[in-house]
Symmetry: C2
Amino acid sequence: MLRQLLSAAMLTASVISINLQANEIPESKGNAKWVDPFIGTGGDGHLFPGAVVPFGMVQLSPDTDNPMRGESPQPEIYKRCAGYHYDDHTIMGFSHTHFSGTGHSDLGDLLITPITGEVKRDPGTLMDPDSGYRSRFSHDREWASPGFYAVDLLDYNVRAELTATARVGVHRYHFNGQDKGHVLLDLTSAIYNFKHKVLWSDIRQIDAHTLVAYRSTNGWAENRPMYFAIQFSKPIDQIEFINEDDKRYRCMDCLGNKKHSTIENTAVKRAAGKALKVVTSFTGLEDSPLLVKVGLSAVSRKNALLNLETEVPHWDFDKVREQAQLEWNNYLNKVDVEGTRVQRRQFYTALYHALQAPNIYQDVNGQYLGLDGEIHDGKGFEHYTLFSLWDTYRALHPLLTYIAPERVSSMIQSMLVHYQQSYEKMLPIWSFHGHETWTMIGYHAVSVISDAYLKGFRDFDVALAKEAILSTSNNPIYDAIPEYKQFGYVPFDVIPESVSITLEYAYDDFAIARFFEALGDSRLAKTYYARAMNYKNVFDKNSGFVRGKDSKGNWESDFNPLEAKYMGSFTEGNAKQYSFYVPHDVAGLIELMGGDDQFESRLDALFDTHLSDEMIKEHEDIAGLIGNYAHGNEPSHHIAYLYNYAGKPWRTQERIRQIMDTLSSDKPDGLAGNDDVGQMSAWYLFSAMGFYPVAPGDLSYAIGAPQVKKASVQLANGKQFTILAPSLSNQNKYIGAVKLNGKSLLRSYITHEDIMQGGVIEFSMTDRPNKQWGNAPKNRPISLSQGE
Amino acid sequence: MLRQLLSAAMLTASVISINLQANEIPESKGNAKWVDPFIGTGGDGHLFPGAVVPFGMVQLSPDTDNPMRGESPQPEIYKRCAGYHYDDHTIMGFSHTHFSGTGHSDLGDLLITPITGEVKRDPGTLMDPDSGYRSRFSHDREWASPGFYAVDLLDYNVRAELTATARVGVHRYHFNGQDKGHVLLDLTSAIYNFKHKVLWSDIRQIDAHTLVAYRSTNGWAENRPMYFAIQFSKPIDQIEFINEDDKRYRCMDCLGNKKHSTIENTAVKRAAGKALKVVTSFTGLEDSPLLVKVGLSAVSRKNALLNLETEVPHWDFDKVREQAQLEWNNYLNKVDVEGTRVQRRQFYTALYHALQAPNIYQDVNGQYLGLDGEIHDGKGFEHYTLFSLWDTYRALHPLLTYIAPERVSSMIQSMLVHYQQSYEKMLPIWSFHGHETWTMIGYHAVSVISDAYLKGFRDFDVALAKEAILSTSNNPIYDAIPEYKQFGYVPFDVIPESVSITLEYAYDDFAIARFFEALGDSRLAKTYYARAMNYKNVFDKNSGFVRGKDSKGNWESDFNPLEAKYMGSFTEGNAKQYSFYVPHDVAGLIELMGGDDQFESRLDALFDTHLSDEMIKEHEDIAGLIGNYAHGNEPSHHIAYLYNYAGKPWRTQERIRQIMDTLSSDKPDGLAGNDDVGQMSAWYLFSAMGFYPVAPGDLSYAIGAPQVKKASVQLANGKQFTILAPSLSNQNKYIGAVKLNGKSLLRSYITHEDIMQGGVIEFSMTDRPNKQWGNAPKNRPISLSQGE
């Protein structure tokens, strides 16, 4: 919901005197009205409140600070992964690209901000806003809804409004009766900024209203180009180009103030260098707002202009905003949720955050910048970027097969052309903007492809997918695949994070096996099913934990199951957590751990063991703890569902409620860690509806416990799948019984087929566990070693 | 001719012991055998001796040193504008792009050099070659001919041979019985290098034989990209990637020596950064040479590979060399010259240097990088770059209409697309590699277009040419065109070099008038004919010189006609020289100067006034002096021919011989200044044949005096134009009489028509002036104010 409503009372009480001429903030329609983009902008959510359309290339959002790497403490930098942090009280300006919920960062392309009065050229500091062009703001006078953001910049008495299309950001600045104003463009600003991050940039005025610009930055993605077409609704009255370069080379140097007889340093409205800023000045602002449209392209200035002119050929801000809201509602209205106001705020905001990425990364003429650095034509599919696969293969991509099915094949095709363009012949690992960052482990793209293929998505090059999967999972130069194949595990003396890698390879191999099985290639299916059992090779029966093993077969001697040190044998986790990472063969894992009761105790030990503060401090990037369960880290995401596999689904039901109650809220700091490009939100959405994809590619979902009274999903085949839990309450958190389309459902899982055939699944919720339901072995979710 | 022949005697006496297994240096055929690419590589010629084809994109040539800007004295840097200087005794390696004869520099892309034994990573210094990878060499063991260069790298006992196609450089390294060798690729090396010149670069091995690379430099052209495909004839045995970056960002930093579990820092054969070097190592070199092929592209890695595979799909070095020589002879054999051995060496070498540029700047698939930074398709014409127009409009472009007529329309079309892609809507001034440097003054592209159009070259977009000429010559933001149009001259209080600019605009306006006259647009022709008389507005009758005038009409008070200070009222010249810069209306100038005899005295005063050493020192970039006549600077190039206009052609005949005798030789330091991308060579060629285009666009040539006994030019229309001077000798430098196709020719000029109709012009040379020939007013070259 709009924050305007929340803070209506405070508005009148505001001590800041604003001559409010700007139009009123419009109310949202449809389910968009439940979305609060500020959820997750505080704490470690790393979400941004700005204006986007679903999967848009542009994320136009305020940046509250960008502490420089090498000059500022790492936590201060980490806090602003999304440019904005709810704790901050100043806004530097509005930039056009942002990651949604990542744990590392980049982007923040082309910061623009309106200014009145004295023009300061530097952003100044958070502590002393008057030292620069940044402005104070107040959450009381800040509004956001899907496709729209607005804020009053208090230092300038300017209201800034933002909206967007897929490839264009649109700004509207109300100068509130002031005749003169400026718009500053800072091409040096960037998220995770550092000295020399800008490799090169240029900007040029091409007519009275229009600028074109380029910059390449060297951040998480190296030498990442972005082109901009910037258009103002009023003619530029004055323009000043500022080049803060050392000017080592340019001839201007040698001349001092004397004008040389060339065009270069005189009349040309252009600058190029590594530290550019531009101040545009306007008059006649008192009566009507100034609009700025910014088209983006990774291909060329020409394409940036084309994107701009194609997507926003007019100056009707409200039309763009309404269209953006419409696009959001097309998705948000696909799910009809009944629940408390807070639940609906959380649910629709999670859905909103689940539809941020992968992002379109292609111009309206089809061209896009490929991983190989070449410009490709991209005919026949939409090209997407931003694959945070270690996170998103778990629940986000399975979710998109229901909510955004029309995009699934194009997303897969985008991964396949990535493979084609990859000199290493690898599917994406963690890629964005034509660059592979090689962040995190595994080869989880195979899970996304397998899950979608099994669900019937086949409008991509399947032969190429087969080739890409084989190449990736046997790649001799990636991580430790040769050793994995040789030893059946990754030895810790070869590479760090070896146990996590082994376990994740094994799951991925399961997904591959399923893919080949569906293709009818039983030989390859068999090979990968065998590889999928490799998890056993790192399970140390003596300690009862997965554990590092060296290439001679010796267990790692320096072993503490609670330890999660950087560059140890685990990634974002410890042995205690990773011991549960066998999503495709939980039955096999239960056997290794000594049976159902032992397994239950081990799960309880995970949730109930209090970690010492010292241990927490030592953990690298671990958040959202319940005991040793770390909801902020993806390796934990499936764990609460594992009680089902031991025939104790009521324990899962308890844990889901526990996580929901303690680790999520509808407040800015409501996320228990990074949203991780929608994965955390996707966990919430599945879990709130009552089921979760423990092992994508398996086509089944472990039933947890619905957290909303009703959720009805519109499916692409025209059918509707409705979850009902009318008796749900604070006390009634347990499943008494389940009916699927009127028939009693005894198993503690549902299948993709159950969902796609439509109908109603009705949960009778009670205040005490029904220990019979889902207890019988035949009613538990099925695991690989059970020979399904 | 090959230097091998010259130094045969010294070879045997060489004190350096070389185990010479490399094949013999082949003798050149056709007129290529007369070309000595070393002429002009010493002194201030700024020519390079490496391998090129006519107008090729690749100039593969040795770099003897690259003193760093900001660290080395400017003269040391200036000396190596072409990478190579004949004075130097070491070779750093062979890079793939070079300017031919420029007075400022850039390029030197991708330095490659063979190495044996210890691999040093830095080039080391000229004074201490052992401090780096550079090798000593000796001119005795160095050979060059059109399309071919070879040298023995004495420190490594390696003979390196180079040849080229338009877009591919081919190296052949003979390791002389050594089994192991290395090839170092230094992506940090550049001509006019300085710290941070490389904005970004990357290099990657894509198969056992092949690398692809990219780098962008920020030099004379800012952010200039170049892509490379590098292929070795033998598989790479070992490869080492060296990144000398500060590594501020890359994660490798934080890890120290510990291997992180990503592909990035382990097995991928790739590096990216600002300071890359690669060492490739090979074995099995003792029996056969190692070949390296390097394809270039300004568009993409893919195009670099395509250029490589298309132009040199094989490993036959000699075939490429022979093809290069064939292409040269196709041009060189168009002129049949008889004269002394020295004369033929000078003549064909000048012809060779006149055919270096403009360069092809387009890939085999038609794509090229435009001035607007966009990739263009370039269908229907060959796209050229490197327009040093202030120099080359004078004689080089008129020469190309005879020697390379098939390229003239494409060169003009290239200037027209430059205009189209120019945000300033300007024809090129001094442009290369998709960049306008805005170097020097005037808008001389119009002269090239007008001259060609009048000669019948019309296979370009004539309507666009009209638009481009009007836009350029009336451009409100270029230099001082508005003031020029307002005052009829450029006031010195508006812009420096104002007098030079006024005079050159006036000539250009004459060329434009001729163009519009030919188009039948008498209104525009009249306008520009009027503008062409603006030279009179800067002629101060009191002093008798052209002189700075301010916007109130006052002459510049601080006036010394001999002074040529930087940022004064003149460019590369002084008032004494520039007073003769009215090429299109010499008759009008003669009148201003007081008549024929006064004019002759003034010309003599120019040639005969000895400049004080102090004055010479003060002159900016002025070279090749006879008195105050500066042959090394283009504003003097037409001056010796002006005696004709005063009815005293025998004085011109004397001066031409004087210049030939004192300011040019067939030695490395044989040029009296920079060749300036062929302009100096074109002056030589016209003058040696006996005539010169004083005012291109005029279609007439002032007759000087032939310096060779015969020169016969094959014309595109199938006819032949032959200059004969059988009685020419050291004493017989004067024209006694002239016959054109058997009929007595009394006028001291010939026309384009005379040439194109073919036939024979025969000069009777004598040892004393014939003061009657060409003396009558009707027989003098015609000037604008004579109302032709």
